[in-house]
Amino acid sequence: MAYHRYDAVIVGAGGAGLMAAIQLAGKANIAVVSKLYPTRSHTGAAQGGVSAALGNTEEDHWEWHMYDTVKGGDYLVDQDAAEVLTREAIDAVYELEHMGLPFNRTPDGKIDQRRFGGHTRNFGETPVRRACYAADRTGHMIIQTLYQQGIKHNVNFFDEHHLVDIIFTDDGACCGVVTYEIKTGEMHVIHAKTVLIASGGFGRVFKVTSNALAGTGDGVALAFNHGIPLMDMEMYQFHPTGIYKMGILLSEAARGEGAVVRNSEGEAFAARYAPTLKDLAPRDMMSRFIHQEIKEGRGIDGKDYVLLDFTHLPEEVIDEKLPDITDFARTYLGVEPKKEGVPIQPTAHYAMGGLPTNVEGQVIRDPQGTTVPGFYSAGESACVSVHGANRLGTNSLVDLIVFGRRAGKHMYGEIQSNDWAELPKNPMDRAREQIDTLLSRKSGESVADIRKEMQEVMMDDVSVVRTHEGLTEAHDKIRDLQQAYKNIAIMDKGHIYNMDLLEGLELGNMLECAETIVAGAIVRKESRGAHYREDFQERDDKNWLAHTMTYRESDGSLRIEKKPIVITRFEPKERKY
């Protein structure tokens, strides 16, 4: 075992983690832990853009961006947080440019901006150009740029270290993490004054997802197992345009540039459901429109997919502004988007829920907002909540840079005023025992089988449309799989690059996430944003204008509490586009 001591340890080297690291670099002694190499982080897969009301190509204001964010989130957004998000987005985007991010440019040399789903001028009038972008690889350029800054500032990277535990004192303060060095199998205790969980989402709980294989919710699940609540876990976004069966994302930027979704009759049907924004209606709605078209028999060839049509776009728009996603269609489907429609279906994409935090990135432990000393989260692993019941396209990247930056800055204050809390005795025992058990068990349940069953039931019963019956079935299934998980056996018993062991550990984390998603979806007896209940089709502001906070009780059961949302500027209204 190795022992290290840092002012701050940041778990996850995606956009949020690196943005926080850069705030602290040179001022504090920090470690950035990633189970991958940092540039492999899933921020790099983001395509379309990062929104900020720069007003470079037409009039825009952060208040309009805030309104769109609140309305897009079906009023489950905490409006104080949405105000921070949209105001600070402007400076954060400029900061990325100053770091070297190669944004596309307007003819007069400013950052170019384009349209995106749900982003409008003057409180809903018509689409607005707000998304700053670098072709259709904006996330790639963000992760590259931030990693480059990390190199410049000599950040200590713990590459290929898997998070296996988070350490808390008896008083409930966070004081470090335990990692498993993938290359050697050695365990590391990293003692720290502050810990930031920026470990991303958990799309891999679903069968069809745009998420990386690494998106397994490690940080979220481990914190939950230490009594930290999770917020709004039932709010899981399905992106309308994933490549059929594979789930690979085809950015909303396609529709921002003019592509449309068509059914078997060739109809661009979104206009029928959302007359104003048409194909730029928010993702939850677009996914439901597609679901409805397929249900009514207008899927292509009677199957469960529709077509994303680029054929009417000028060739130079496809080549200059959408090169990657059109290349995906060619590579994976053998389809030339300039000539024919691309088969798509909704794909599990983004967790609006996660570790509850305040606007400084501090994790809170109850509906009153009591903070957990030393413990932070930012990015997809966190729930601030700026996305409410449905995140707008581009706002994930905005979230990373705004709240990653804020968390880093606030951590600096805590580092200066606090000393290291004393570690509990043998902080790595729990993880060590878990790993030793997996390495020594000779036979048992298959990780791949359990994972497959989990992904299938989550896709069938907990995706775009939900019912009490399906959810209850999914709940029972997940509980059964959790029992089976206790007896998993892995095949690789070695110590060097044991990826089989890691997949075993990741499955445990995914099951935790899946269970809380289902539990939240069962109790929320209404339809709001991404959470659509066929048996409760209306939004119920009287009872459910509230976050859910889910706790693991000591007897293993779950307890769910409500947390009131913060309304500052925009009273809930019916959500029409």
């Binding site: 991958l36 190499y37 540039t39 492999r40 982080s41 899933h42 790099g44 897969a45 400029y94 440019e97 100053h98 770091m99 070297g100 190669p102 944004f103 596309n104 440019r105 307007t106 003819p107 007069d108 040399g109 400013k110 950052i111 670098a134 072709a135 690889r137 790639h140 350029m141 590259q144 740029t145 480059q148 800054q149 190199i151 410049k152 290359k183 990386a212 294989l213 690494a214 594979m246 690979i248 990657d324 995906f328 590579t331 994976y332 489907l333 053998g334 298959s446 990780v447 791949a448 892995i490 095949m491 690789d492 070695g494 110590h495 060097i496 690059y497 044991n498 990826m499 089989d500």
Partner: protein
């Protein structure tokens, strides 16, 4: 269809040297090679080891030698590979286990070219201006995902540990030709050394290997030309 996967295996905890193992598997032509590796790992042999994450050619984890050519496993479909497929780790790197190699020297070479914007003139508010032409000048080299397919395909890197390799030059190019950057002279000096661009023999393996279709050899040539002329043109190649 049934295919035979011939995979070079090496477990440092049990093997003295590498050997090939064969797996017969049922696949669809539209499966990614990565899907098939996962199928073997999940259902046949959990010790089979390789890196992977995004599974659609954007994170750069799963470059390997596929039927003798460097490719990403997640961007290669089975229908393009025939019935007997040979997989080996990237060459020119130390093999850690099976298809997984030591990436540290690769990242060290990348870091040696100072791959970050060097500029001290950020405006106090707003963005720096850059014309679309200036932005376009280095567009191609911004696409690099650091997968090492190019560097590992370069015969110079197989025998010369000093050479920074094509990927590092690509990333130097991305900054040298960025009109906002002030570090071109510094990077050109680094690439003018014995470990730099003059090692390149214009074999074009790198360009062929790049899963992002970056014109790698062309980028290296542009750096060479900038060194010879002593000038960096920010709008035209």
């Amino acid at each position: 269809m049934e295919v035979t996967m011939r995979i070079k295996r090496f477990n440092p905890e049990t093997d003295k040297k590498a050997h090939f193992e064969e797996y017969k598997v049922e696949v669809e032509g539209t499966d990614r090679l990565l899907d098939v590796l996962n199928q073997i790992k999940w259902y046949i042999d959990g010790t089979l080891t390789y890196r992977r994450s995004c599974a659609h050619g954007i994170c750069g984890s799963d470059a390997m030698r596929i039927n003798g050519r460097n490719r990403l496993a997640c961007k290669t479909l089975m229908q393009d590979l025939g019935k007997r497929i040979t997989l080996e780790p990237l060459i020119g790197f130390k093999v850690e286990k099976d298809l997984l190699v030591d990436m540290e020297p690769f990242f060290a070479a990348y870091k040696s070219v100072k791959p970050y914007l060097i500029a001290d003139d950020a405006p106090s508010s707003g963005e720096r201006l850059q014309s679309p032409e200036e932005r376009h000048r280095f567009d191609d080299t911004t696409k690099c995902i650091l997968c090492a397919a190019c560097t590992s395909s370069c015969p110079i890197t197989w025998t010369n540990d000093e050479f920074v390799g094509p990927a590092a030059i690509v990333n130097a190019h991305r900054f040298i030709f960025d009109s906002r950057d002030q570090g071109a002279a510094l990077r050109l000096k680094i690439l003018n050394k014995g470990s730099g661009v003059w090692r390149c023999r214009t074999v074009f393996n790198c360009t062929d290997a790049c899963p992002r279709d970056i014109k790698v050899t062309e980028a290296i040539e542009q750096v060479k030309r900038a060194l010879i002329s002593g000038e960096v043109n920010y709008t035209e190649a």
